[in-house]
Structure formats: structure tokens, C-alpha cells
Amino acid sequence: MLIWRVNLQSGSLQREAVPESWSRLGGRGLLARIMVDETPPGCDPLGPNNRLIFSPGLLVGHMLSSCDRISVGGKSPMTGGIKEANAGGTTGLKMACMGIRALILEGQVTAAPAARADWRVLHLSLDGARLEPAADLVGLGVGEAAARLLKRYGDQVAVALIGPGGEMRLSAAGIQNLDKDGVPSRIAARGGLGAVMGAKGLKAIVFDAAGAAKPPLADPEAFKQAQKVFTRNLADHPQTALYRDYGTAAMALTCNALGGLPTRAFSEGSFEGAETLSGEHLREVTLERGGESTPTHACMPGCAIRCSNNWGGPDGKSLVTPLEYETIGLMGSNLGIADLDVVARLNWEVNDLGLDSIDLGAALGVAVRAGLMAFGDGDRAMELLREIRQGTPLGRILGHGAALAGRVLGVIQVPVVKGQAMSAYEPRAIKGTGVTYATSPQGADHTAGNTVRAKVDHLDPKVQAALSRNAQISMAGYDTLGACIFAGFGFAVAPEVIPGLLNARYGWQVGGDILQTLGRETLSLEREFNKRAGFTAAHDRLPEWMTLEPLPPHRSVFDVAEADLDGVFDW
């Protein structure tokens, strides 16, 4: 395994050995380690000293079902703290096969927004690395840019790229990755890492794994056995069939039943139009429409769950892939929109701009509160998104996400923590996830530790901190392995499979608690970086209005004790 280090300022491209202290980490955990070791905590996220880091998780590279995720990290322009965003697709798999434990990008072409001629594509292969001009790609959405890159470099490469949002250095810009069919739809969305890449003057990174093989195994037979057990457990698990048939959209009616479906700019917790936003409806319509529409699609090669989908219009032609619950919540019920065709078109637009659909949905909710559009007006929502592509001042304000939009537009009822928007779990109704929003070093992010599935009273403030703690530790562990959250229910059947796979892959002797060990180490490093960057307990809070304004239908406020929030990481 090796580290690639690329300096956009000097143009230096170097292979380095993996330092001993980094060698037992990957993905989110390794990002945190590198950030603490190298990135000045006070640096400007858009300046030359911020690092943009790509690292596949520890188990990536073997087409182990749902375990080939790529983690991307740096200091976030949105939160001002550490950021990890991960995605499926093929980037992680190709990097691991090329033996790359981490790619570290430093410096920037120019501090000012790059001129057309300054933009670059980074090309990595087993032969080496080179920076190439990207002038012909500047200003293109990710769809057209990816198509040109695949034509230029061949359709077997993996690509990580930014859209116009990242080029404009917007805080809600993410980094898109190709799915297994070459569609740029798997976005490391959260916290503005696309803006960090844009600030470096980099439009795309091409990973050409020609000639590469799967990473070596210390004990191939033991790996094969552990893989067999995991795959069988996953295939037999009832949740696998549920996700295959309904996808994450099944959460719409679950959250609606709990009064936790963000509705009309987080002012209500249930939506009268939830039925036509549901996974059940999505499945019926995609099957009925046929053509490219399908309720089942794998984002990574070899995934046994295939929870993704392709939403086609009435003629069956794809409008967007995938259509996920978070987007449905933030761009559907949150905007008073009950039509999945409308949500799909908005989703495609933000995808192509290379922006985070969660923060953009929340920003449009803020726009409604500010009187710039009405609830349910999908056409106006699209007009506002098109302003981003045009680069108008209003478009740029929205493209920086909900927190900035709220500040500029004078709205204080903004659903953010550390400047990052909440996803589609209302924290006043699902308070454990609210604890995660408040305390995660990442800012509000359900993937940092969602508690909605727990069989507890989600309104009881007393039981939530422990739930959130356990969920956050597990998720930080899975993110370090490169495992999708949904691989978790396969691992949960036989937890010994995780150390089994790691020991067989690397020749280690790790024990049964390795998932929690990796999770705690990762969270500790992330909190250390944030502490050095100026974060205190005062930042681990939900916005005050959510503690004051009761949420229908339960009339509940967020009332988890501050002492409980402060104790989440006392382990």
C-alpha cells in the first residue's frame, strides 16, 4: 500500500510509504489521523494548507458486498471542523486495487478562483500520476463532464469530480463518483468537500486501475471463509429483501408514523402527502413505468443488497438515479411537495451541479420561510436551483446551504448544527438522532449515528444519549472499514466476521471489539481536530428554536439535557 501526495501549487506528484502510525487505519479513521497529524486546524478550508484526502476503508478492494466505500475528508468550509463524507460507486474499489491507502491533495493552483486555463484533471495509474489541462470541462455539469472523461480515458476508469457548485466554491458542494454503470451519482455530499477540491483548481481525478489486481490477502482461505459467512448472513437477512424491494424510501412512512418526517421547513413532523413519497409508492410506480425505471439497483459492484433505484418518468426514461429517502424528505415533504417526479427533477439538478441535496433541500425550505417561494411550488424551486447554475448572487447564497441562506435572508428557524443541515429525521420527534446531530464532530448528519430503528420511546429525552453514543461508535467503525451502514445488519448476525476479515486480509490479531475500537479512536481523533480548531461544548447543541418551538403532531421540543449531550463521548 502507498500514499500518493499531490501538490497543486508546485505540481509535485509523489509516492510515499504508509507511515507505521497510519498503517492500521483506512477510510474515515485514517482521514482523521492524517488531519490531526498534518492539517493546521486553523487553516482556511479553501486555502492552500487544507488537505483534501481520499481513502478507501480497510476492507475495500475485494468486492465484499457493500464494503467498497470511499471516504473523502478535509477541513469543511461549511462547519469549520473536520469532515468526512463517504460514497459508494467505484472510486474506493479502484483505489484499493491500485494499492493506494490514501491520496493527499495539498496546495492550490491560485488563491483566487482559477481561470479556465488553470483547471486540472489528476490522472493516476500504476505507471504514475500526471496533471492535465481541464479547460474543456470547466462549467460543465457532472453528467457531461463524466461522459467526456470516460471518452478520453476509457470506460473502465473510476472518476471523482466536481460540478459547477464545486467550481464556484459553494459550501454545499460535494464530490461525485461514478456508480458501477458509469453514472456520476454517488456523491460524497456533505460539508463542502467539492468546494475544497474546486479551491485547489481540480475538476476531476481519474483512477485508471489497468493492470491492477485485488489487494493481497495474508490468509486467502480464512478470508474466503469469513466472506462466505458474511455474504450468507447478509443474503438471508430480512432487511436485505426490504432494502432491495423498497430502498431507503421506505423510511418515509416510518418517519411519518413517528411524527418525525420533516415537513414544510421543519415546522411539522407529518405530511398529508407522505403516501406518494413512500418507498411503497416508489416501488409500484417504477415497476409500472418500466423502461429504465427500477426499484432495485446496486451502486457498487458485487453488492448483494442493491438498495438503490432508478426513477424514470411516465415514459420510463430515467429522471434520476438514485432517489433516496433523504432527498425525498428534504426536497419533498420539507418543501410541501408530494410528487416524486418533481422531487426527481430537483434531485437531478442538484446532482448535476455537484451539490448536496440535503443542504439544498434545507436551503430551499429557508427560501420559503423568507418568502422567495411557496410550499409545493416545484417550478419555483427549480428556478431557484437554476440560479445556482447561472451563478447569480441568490443562487450562490442557496448553494452555500441552509445556514448561510438563513443568515442572509434573516431566517432563524434553520435546521442546522455546526452550519450543516439536518437530514430527514426530525430531532424533536426522533431525539436520539437529534443527539447525534448535536454532538457529532461532523455537524448534523444522520449517517453519523441514526437511532430511528431502536425500539425505544423516541420522545423520551432520558434514553437518547446512550443510544446515540453506541450508534456513533459503530458508524465511525463502519466508515473506517469502508462498509455501508447496511452491511451492518449482516455483520450484526456474526460480529466475529469483522476481526476475521481484517486478520485474514492483513495478518493482524485484532479481537472481537475491533469495530468499537476503531470507532472510538476515530471519534477521538475527530474531536481532537475540532478542539484545536476552536470547537467547544457550546457547539454540540441543536439550534435554540428547536428547544422552544413545539413540533406537531406530538407538540414536542428537543429537551435532552445538556449534561447528557456533554457526556456522549465519555467512554
Binding site: 424491494d245 412512512l253 416510518t254 407529518s270
Partner: protein, 74 residues
């Protein structure tokens, strides 16, 4: 009213349904409801009137019951 989420939808003489009215004797509980529907509690999130409920919960006529196969969200 009983709401049957995702895979719990069932075929009835009226077609495929996701909502049912179920008659229970007075004092009937969630456990009785599951028995009447021939469902196991394991792997189900049980929600009554918007709140997670236990099997011993006594059901009333106007209750809205959601039976939800466990999902982890995305």
C-alpha cells in the same frame, strides 16, 4: 386502523392492501393484534398513535397502529 408497512402488505378479497381494520375483544393488546394477523413481533417496530409501543399495550378503537418491518434508514 392498522397500517402495514412495506413487506407486510397482504392480499385480501379486496386486493393487495396496506391498511386494515381489525376487530379485537375489549382489552385486546398489541400482542393480540399480531396474533390475529399471524405476525411475529421480532423484527417489527410497533408504533401506536405516533409512539413506539410495547406488546402489552391495550388498544382502543380509535388507535392508529403502524407495524413496521425494521429498517435502518439511509
Amino acid at each position: 386502523m392498522v397500517h402495514l408497512h412495506t413487506s407486510l402488505r397482504r392480499r385480501t378479497p379486496e386486493g393487495l392492501v396496506r391498511r386494515l381494520e381489525v376487530a379485537l375483544p375489549a382489552g385486546g393488546t398489541l400482542a393480540d393484534l399480531l396474533r390475529a394477523l399471524d405476525l411475529q413481533a421480532e423484527g417489527l417496530l410497533l408504533v401506536v398513535n405516533g409512539r413506539t409501543a410495547h406488546l402489552a399495550r391495550v388498544l382502543e378503537e380509535a388507535d392508529e397502529v403502524h407495524l413496521i418491518p425494521a429498517l435502518s434508514g439511509g
